[in-house]
Symmetry: C2
Subunit: 208 residues, 2 copies
DNA sequence: TTCCAAACTTGAGTCAATTCGGTTTTCGAG
DNA sequence: CTCGAAAACCGAATTGACTCAAGTTTGGAA
């Protein structure tokens, strides 16, 4: 049977998400009214609140899908990273930053980040946190990989290094979405410069 | 005359802020209704909106005062820092983290951070950003000071180092306020561990 | 002192998110 | 197949942030 109820549930979930994504894109976050989303999804207002705790949650759910893609794209880099520490880190973080703006505008990111800090306990707030953790882990994995490849010092603290690299980038990304005028090239350049400091600390010293 | 109008204005500003601070503390952010704040401040609802663009703005204003104090406390450390890089950084960041929780609960921080990312252009959103920048600058100042004292390598990128140190701590602080169970000791320990990596990169090599 | 324009205050009204009690649908035990 | 309970759905009613047109106060020019 697979459960008619479960099927309907999944169906509605998807319809709501699609409707919301459409309207957010067309009208922006504030412009997209819950009633409109409900209408487009052919569902009542009340039903939306059975699936999502509040409006922000819907956006966070959409963002989560996006972050998942980013995470996937990152796997390739970790598997076969560029042959020096600087480029490897830059490539991975580059994917994170560039990918993030393909489907989502700065305004949506602002909203999503705000919601996920405001309500870290709502279901999708937790999803979001989990994804953030996954990104940190992936960054640490890259450092670990580079260590195994003999590019990073054996005595470097893999975990701590990965965390710093990711946290710093994440904070810079927040600044970036807060400033409408800032270009992504500026963001990348700033992060690259900062990472030089770290690379100096963890990269294998050059033989002479 | 000093201006009756200006006097009234300052007076109302203060009364609103005090009323809001009281009610936020007693009832939490969401529990504090604008009407209640208006009543307590003996002012009408409309007047509040002459002074603050929205509810979040009021909280951000309160937080700003708090951050200002932190900034002041930090000056002392920058002026006469502990005699090694690790301790100096730990002391400054320690002040930032510990001080921040004296007057403001985690919940209020969550709200304030959310508001300032959501509306970076509102007057107090800008104030908040400016304060964040001031904290970054202070961290950079410390690194610079340590460099002049011969504790940090001459060739270290002062600006980039300071930014990473602050950004990383700030991100960790965000995680901390998002998790109600996390203790401040855990936060400090985590940041200390991460900073070891950085210290390795910028501290003057020990003579042998 | 008088009076006008600018600045400020007011609170009833608007708008949209969220809630909630009543109804419908699904499930599975008998 | 029948029926009662649980799960979902619905949308009108509630709530509370924010607006705005009308009224009030202030500063200072004449």
């Amino acid at each position: 049977m697979a459960g008619l109820r479960a099927k309907h549930r999944a169906d509605r979930h998807r319809r709501i998400l699609e409707a919301a994504a459409d309207l957010f894109r067309e009208a922006g976050y504030d412009g997209a009214k819950i009633e409109a989303i409900a209408a487009e999804a052919e569902v009542s207002v009340g039903t939306i609140y059975n699936y999502y705790r509040n409006k922000g949650d819907i956006l966070v759910a959409i963002v989560s899908m996006e972050v998942n893609e980013v995470l996937n794209a990152g796997r390739g880099v970790v598997a076969t990273p560029p042959a020096n520490v600087s480029d490897a880190i830059d490539t991975l973080l580059g994917i994170y930053m560039e990918h993030s703006l393909i489907y989502l505008s700065k305004a949506m990111w602002r909203q999503a980040m705000a919601t996920s800090t405001q309500q870290p306990d709502s279901p999708f707030g937790q999803t979001y946190s989990a994804l953030d953790r996954a990104l940190v882990d992936q960054t640490c994995d890259l450092v670990d990989r580079l260590k195994r490849l003999g590019l990073v010092r054996i005595d470097a603290d893999t975990r701590a290094s990965g965390e710093i690299i990711f946290n710093n980038m994440n904070m810079m990304f927040m600044e970036f979405v807060k400033q409408d005028t800032m270009a992504i090239a500026d963001l990348r350049a700033a992060v690259r410069r900062q990472n030089k400091v770290l690379v100096g600390a963890i990269a294998m010293p050059v033989k002479r």
